[in-house]
């Protein structure tokens, strides 16, 4: 490099442009190396634990792989057919649809309600926010344990039964019976308690972004703060947050596993009351060791989730601007 300065007119060095090109190429190579130095570890990890499993799972789903993780015989769409033809799988889809139908609207309603209330009080705002957010730190296992053993214990010493006894009612078997299906109360309340604070935080963040001038203008126009301003200003401006809460919540509900597994179990007995797809797949893959069918079931579930997400996105006009 230095030599070009000393003998700029030397005929051996073909041209400045050539040198610049060389330098540019060298710099480019350095940039490429630096980039992969930083992004490479992530890329490698994702290849091994995200892309390869997806592709390998797709291959596996067309093969027979029982009691072994190696695909043994090509069976075409047999795995898919057997999963779709299985009553237990279809029941699990019905179960999760019922679950989503309860948990999603209830969570949206309560998280918004709590956020608006916390945002309206003048004092102790941080305290209430902390209390409602605290369950986020609790695991599904611990919450299931509390719900199953002490809160909704079917025996008279359970907390809920003590409470209703206070009002003169007989103890209820919360988890053990199919009819009436009180176990839905248990399953829905445990998830609600665990996640509502999280979504409340999202709504609180959304409420910050609403300009206060809008409320003042509305007041000048004669709108009383309360239901009218909520319906006309607050709720429409929280639209994007609501869409996010709905989608996150729905996708999470479809992957429910922990509370079903720990409250109702996986295989027999109570598990037959309500078994979501993930518990079903867990049984197929890890109890029956049928990995081919397990992989196929995973892809069916992914398709269902994607379709429902798209339909919901379409219904809500996902991506439309806030101003419209």
């Amino acid at each position: 490099m230095a030599s070009s300065k000393i003998v700029p007119a030397s005929p051996k060095i073909t041209s400045d442009a050539d040198l610049n090109a060389k330098g540019r190429r060298k710099r480019q190579l350095q940039t490429t190396l630096a980039f992969w130095g930083f992004v490479g570890p992530m890329m490698l990890g994702l290849i091994i634990f995200a892309y390869v499993p997806i592709i390998w799972g797709l291959i596996l789903s067309f093969f027979d792989a029982r009691n072994t993780i190696t695909p043994t015989k090509f069976v075409g769409v047999d795995n898919y057919a057997s999963i779709i033809g299985d009553d237990q799988f279809r029941n699990s889809i019905v179960t999760i649809l019922i679950f989503a139908l309860f948990i999603v609207p209830i969570t949206v309603f309560f998280s918004l309600w709590l956020a608006v209330m916390v945002n309206t009080v003048r004092y102790a705002r941080a305290f209430f926010r902390s209390v409602f957010f605290l369950p986020t730190a609790c695991s599904y296992v611990v919450a299931s344990l509390v719900w199953r053993i002490t809160l909704f214990n079917g025996l008279p010493y359970g907390f809920a039964n003590n409470l209703i006894y206070f009002f003169g009612l007989d103890p209820i078997i919360w988890i053990g019976t199919a009819n009436p299906p009180y176990y839905w109360v248990v399953l829905v309340t445990v998830r609600l308690w665990l996640q509502v604070g999280f979504y409340m935080i999202l709504y609180l963040a959304g409420l910050q972004d609403i300009p206060k001038e809008l409320y003042e203008a509305a007041y000048v126009d004669g709108a009383r703060p309360g239901w009218a301003t909520f319906r006309r200003i607050t709720f429409p401006l929280l639209r994007n947050t609501t869409i996010a809460v709905l989608l996150l919540n729905l996708i999470a509900a479809f992957q429910a596993f922990d509370e079903f597994y720990n409250i109702l179990g996986a295989k027999s007995g109570l598990a037959l009351l309500a078994r979501p797809p993930l518990v079903y797949l867990y049984n197929i893959a890890f109890t029956n060791q049928n990995y081919g069918a397990g992989a196929a079931g995973g892809f069916i579930l992914v398709s269902i989730i994607i379709v429902i997400t798209l339909v919901q996105g379409k219904l809500l006009g996902f991506g439309r601007s806030e101003n419209q």
């Binding site: 490429t32 995200a50 596996l60 003590n162």
Partner: protein, 297 residues
């Protein structure tokens, strides 16, 4: 941060209302507080039940008449818990801590490096790489657990702690947030660093990382909580009790034939205690992290 700043806003609207009928405003606030306090009590009942049951005897827990406060505090339940052959709680705590700490450091390192690379190194195909990463966010994680298990077992990591830790070290969502963060990082600072002779690594390690404290803590705490509470993956990978996490220990304990109730609830208390501490100390960062992830979600 942003949530605290709301105070002024509602104060302002509150002031507007105050010009109207003030008794109405007071009544409204009173009703609001009553409702909030009632819901707060409901929300705290499960925590109360854990502590109550953890400090009582089996006979007291199953007594037909409700006992609000334990008569004596039975801290010996703690000994019972740690000596119970069904629940290897000490091993579980060690495993959970090891897994969570490794995942926090691993995830933050890999994600911040990738986020910096994509945001600031002018490589031709960096946006394509970014989109290839983002595609994985569209596949719900829990649904690919069967093929992921197959890959992990090819690598011989079933029934090991590595098998639980390593597959979850690569968090694309965190890459997304770090990229966003570094895109807004002042370029002047970076150029000053370059003048001082820092290369890409030096800029990342000496300039960007120390200035990413807030995002590192808020994402790190969320990672810690998720890792500590995760259940399905450790259940699938850890067959042997030496690889069980706290959650698996508690779940096994829960489904055992005969349950020692006080020890079980003492176990639940021990299992959530570390998180409650982390939670209360770093709540500001957690709220920020959640709000940040919600904006993009």
């Amino acid at each position: 941060m942003s949530i605290a700043s709301s105070k002024g806003q509602t104060r302002a609207t509150g002031y507007v209302v105050a010009k109207g009928t003030s008794w109405r405003r007071y009544l409204g606030q009173a009703v609001l507080y009553a409702v909030l306090i009632f819901i707060s009590i409901l929300f705290l009942i499960p925590f109360y039940l854990i502590v109550r049951n953890g400090l009582m005897t089996q006979a007291e827990i199953t007594a037909p008449d409700w006992i609000w406060l334990p008569k004596g505090l039975h801290f010996e339940n703690l000994d019972k818990l740690f000596n119970d052959p069904l629940a290897s709680m000490a091993v579980g705590l060690r495993n959970s801590l090891l897994i969570a700490v490794t995942q926090v450091f691993g995830q933050m390192l890999f994600a911040s490096m990738a986020g910096y690379g994509i945001a600031r190194i002018p490589y031709k195909y960096r946006n394509i790489v970014f989109y290839i990463f983002l595609v994985t966010l569209m596949i719900p994680g829990a649904v690919t657990f069967v093929p992921k298990y197959v890959i992990v077992s090819y690598l011989g990591m079933v029934n090991t702690l590595q098998g639980i830790i390593v597959p979850d070290l690569f968090n694309v969502f965190a890459v997304f947030l770090f990229r966003q963060f570094y895109l807004n990082f002042p370029r002047e600072l970076e150029e000053a660093g370059r003048v001082d002779g820092l290369n890409y690594w030096g800029i990342y390690w000496r300039l960007l990382l120390p200035n990413s404290r807030t995002i590192l803590i808020s994402l790190g705490v969320l990672t810690f909580i998720n890792s500590w509470n995760s259940f399905l993956w450790p259940l699938v990978i850890g067959h042997d009790s030496s690889t069980w996490t706290v959650q698996i220990v508690l779940s096994t304990f829960l489904t055992a034939q005969t349950i020692n109730l006080p020890a079980l609830f003492m176990g639940a208390a021990v299992g959530i205690f570390p998180l409650l501490v982390v939670f209360l100390v770093l709540q500001r960062y957690i709220v920020q992290g959640v709000a940040r992830s919600g904006i993009t979600g």
